[in-house]
């Protein structure tokens, strides 16, 4: 096939083209230099991301025990077991859904309300924002351990405060429902400040004319927020929801430090179950299968949200 494009005539005064061979050599040299320069990054990606990812998928089709050094092909046995022979897996999926829903709801609602309040430039708004942002820069482990002390059943600060108003608090981290509620709220409060800052930035980027036009059209505060501001915040809300959702599927340290998955698996989210199977029981093959399922679930959820964005995100 020959090119149908006409060859451009040489420009007046232009330097004559180099011979094609020399040009090709120079291009090859440049390409090689470029690839050599990115090779450390490629190496890192291959060794620490792609390699382990492929390794996990391969391991999920084996019965491997890392500690005892045994490994044999398992076919789909690990996946069959988790689907039909492991009630703890389905329990942990349920716990993960409850945790993720709670985390997203608390995080988005609190941070949005906070951003709307702070956007009014009230006195002390900066101080409030600083206080709410403090947990974001606090170590996650320290945050979890401090809350473990505050939530002690007897003598814990939370229960002492409740007792002051005549309420007997539960043994927060040792009763199933309060334990799951506690880790969800503690995890949510940690990042409310960050999400509020994101919402605040989005709020301040809404053109004043749009708000003023709505007011001139007679919109009240409720209608202004319901019909104008919230729809304009939809792209930001989507990003916050996705970030929070992905984070909720990866949560591990709060569970380890506050409840160790208990009581009776009440706070064993899927990521913690992977850890328990892989690093407590050394059922490496089975843990890999669980990790593959967790990956697929996260991917499916994010893809679903992304696909649904056209329905409720108005970003033009």
């Amino acid at each position: 096939v020959t090119s149908t494009f006409p060859t451009a005539p040489p420009r007046a005064g232009a330097v004559p083209d180099r011979p094609p061979r020399r040009r090709a050599t120079r291009r090859a040299r440049e390409a090689l230099t470029a690839y050599l320069l990115i090779s450390p990054q490629v190496l890192g990606l291959l060794l620490f991301v792609i390699g382990p990812l492929v390794g996990v998928v391969v391991l999920s089709f084996t019965h491997t025990d890392l500690l005892y050094g045994t490994s044999r092909p398992a076919g789909l046995a690990n996946f069959t077991q988790l689907a039909s022979g492991d009630p703890t897996f389905w329990h942990s999926v349920g716990v993960t859904v409850v945790f993720a829903t709670g985390l997203v709801a608390i995080n988005v609602v609190l941070s949005l309300v906070l951003a709307l309040v702070l956007d009014r430039n009230l006195r002390g708004a900066g101080l409030i924002l600083t206080l709410v942002f403090l947990p974001v820069v606090t170590s996650q482990a320290a945050w979890a351990v401090v809350w473990r002390f505050l939530l002690q059943g007897e003598g814990g600060t939370v229960n002492q405060l409740l007792a002051a108003v005549g309420v007997t608090g539960p043994n927060w981290l040792f009763e199933p429902v309060p334990a799951l509620a506690s880790v969800t709220v503690v995890a949510a409060l940690k990042t409310v400040g960050l999400k509020a800052v994101i919402f605040l930035a989005a709020l301040r980027s809404i053109p004043r004319e749009v708000v003023e036009a709505a007011r001139m059209d007679g919109a009240g505060e409720w209608q202004l927020h319901r019909r104008v501001i919230l729809p304009l915040l939809a792209p930001t809300t989507l990003v916050v929801v996705i970030i929070t959702l992905i984070g909720s599927f990866q949560v591990f340290d709060y569970i380890l430090l506050m409840t160790n998955g208990g009581p009776a698996h009440a706070t064993t989210v899927l990521a913690f179950y992977v850890y328990e199977q892989g690093f407590e029981l050394f059922r490496t093959g089975y843990a890999a299968a669980l990790a593959v399922v967790l990956f697929a679930l996260t991917l499916a959820l994010v893809a679903g949200q992304w696909a649904a964005r056209r329905r409720w995100v108005h970003d033009d």
Binding site: Y35, S39, L46, L47, G156, F282
Partner: protein
């Protein structure tokens, strides 16, 4: 074939990257005679003592050098498992008894029997009777305990004296130091304690966590109960004796309010509890404490007095490229002479060293009387928890069920029966 030309540089980058990686992560490059030993202590005095011993071994074995690698205890097993599954396995290492049992069953530990039995100077019969409970499988020895640490009672003398209660050591001397007596003393003591303090704390509160088994073991045995019978593979947690034992502890926590409840951070060593059960290695926490303390044996029960130990040991790994030398090193580190030198850190299981306990523990935080009355008999008569080979699976299944015990309205017999039902299929008796 434009795509081939395009992909060629990418392939080149991948090859460069992989080549570089291959150069860096090749197999073990240790020369013959270069041994590595993994330990979980970071204590400089302990590491110095181990360094001294291994240097002596290297001197007596030409061309040998030993590197001691300290790995934090929390990560120890994970890192060891990764190394064992690759080409960088250590030659010798420390292991806790439950992991040694599993690794023995999986064939990962070298057989030490011939090396230890063939040398009369090693004096295998010098070890206390239960020393090899978890280190011998089917007559073959796969590890030697370097620490056989007995559990004992430690109590806050000031709190007891203020309440006018008798000294537990005096009660023990008269054979009256029992769980029922402890529970009764706790009921007297509790109203006099400040809020947030309790009369009794389980061993560092471990009864509510993964160490529930070994924490409950002294209580179960004193009532004549047990977790399981290793000879028959029968679960014994739902025996009447075991149920009575756990029921007593449950009563102390929820009915009497005298034992540290789940979720509370009250700690004996901080002065928040009057009694606890502990081991020698924990006594360092008493340094700088502002209360007088005493120690005595474990409380007895309807099943009589008990002595319970916890163990860690030296092992040589089967896949070591220097296996024979590694076996020799384990043997050297567990001779009478080595055990005596390590005894200041790790309670020894050799009778001949225990005979010299007065001298060995002259500078110990433990009072001389307690060394003779509690430590030495605790080791000589002590029984470690007998771990089944698939201990991790038993734990994984049973621990969430154990959690159901720690609520005020838990039905103790039903929960223990449920645990037995779930773990019985895993508790197979030894073959033959």
């Amino acid at each position: 074939m434009i795509w081939i030309r395009r992909i060629r540089p990418v392939a080149a980058a991948v090859v460069v990257a992989l080549s570089a990686a291959a150069c860096g992560i090749g197999g073990s490059d240790r020369a013959p005679g270069e041994l590595t030993m993994t330990v979980w202590t970071a204590d400089q005095a302990q590491l110095a003592a181990l360094d001294e011993l291994t240097a002596e071994f290297a001197e007596s074995h030409e061309g040998t050098s030993i590197e001691i690698q300290s790995i934090p205890q929390d990560d120890y097993l994970t890192k060891l498992s990764v190394r064992l599954s690759g080409s960088n396995a250590p030659d010798v290492g420390w292991l806790g008894a439950p992991d040694a049992v599993g690794l023995t069953a999986a064939g990962r530990l070298a057989d030490l029997t011939a090396a230890l039995e063939s040398d009369p100077g090693y004096a295998l019969d010098d070890f206390v009777p239960a020393a090899f409970t978890n280190w011998r499988d089917d007559g073959r020895i796969h590890g030697v305990p370097f620490s056989t640490s007995p559990f004992f009672t430690i109590y806050n003398k000031d709190l007891l004296a203020a309440a006018g209660l008798p000294d537990p050591a005096a009660l023990a001397a008269r054979g009256e130091w029992t769980w029922e007596r402890l529970a009764a003393m706790a009921r007297t003591l509790q109203p006099r304690l400040p809020p947030g303090s309790y009369a009794f704390q389980s061993n560092e509160g471990a009864v509510y966590g993964p160490l529930v088994w070994t924490t409950l073991d002294p209580l179960l045995r004193s009532f004549g109960g047990a977790v399981h019978d290793p000879a028959t593979g029968e679960c014994r947690l739902d025996d009447a004796e075991s149920v009575a034992a756990v029921d007593l502890y449950h009563r102390m926590v929820f009915a009497d309010g005298t034992a540290v409840p789940p979720g509370s951070e009250a700690d004996f060593f901080a002065g928040d509890a009057a009694f606890t059960l502990t081991q020698l290695s924990r006594l360092g926490q008493l340094e700088g404490g502002d209360f007088a303390w005493g120690v005595t044996a474990l409380p007895a029960g309807p099943g009589g007095p008990v002595a319970v130990t916890g163990q860690s040991g030296f092992v040589a790994f089967e896949d070591s490229p220097n296996r024979d030398l590694a076996v020799e090193l384990v043997k050297f580190l567990s001779t009478r002479s080595s055990a005596e030198r390590l005894a200041q850190f790790y309670p020894p299981a050799r009778n001949s060293v225990l005979d010299e306990a007065g001298t060995v523990y002259a500078d110990s935080v433990l009072p001389a009387q307690a060394v003779q009355d509690v430590l030495v008999p605790g080791i000589r008569e002590g029984e470690p928890f007998p771990y089944p080979a698939i201990w991790r699976q038993v734990r994984g299944i049973a621990e969430p069920v154990f959690d159901r015990l720690w609520t005020p309205d838990a039905e103790v017999p039903a929960v223990l029966g449920d645990i037995c039902e779930q773990i019985t299929p895993l508790l197979e008796p030894p073959a033959g």
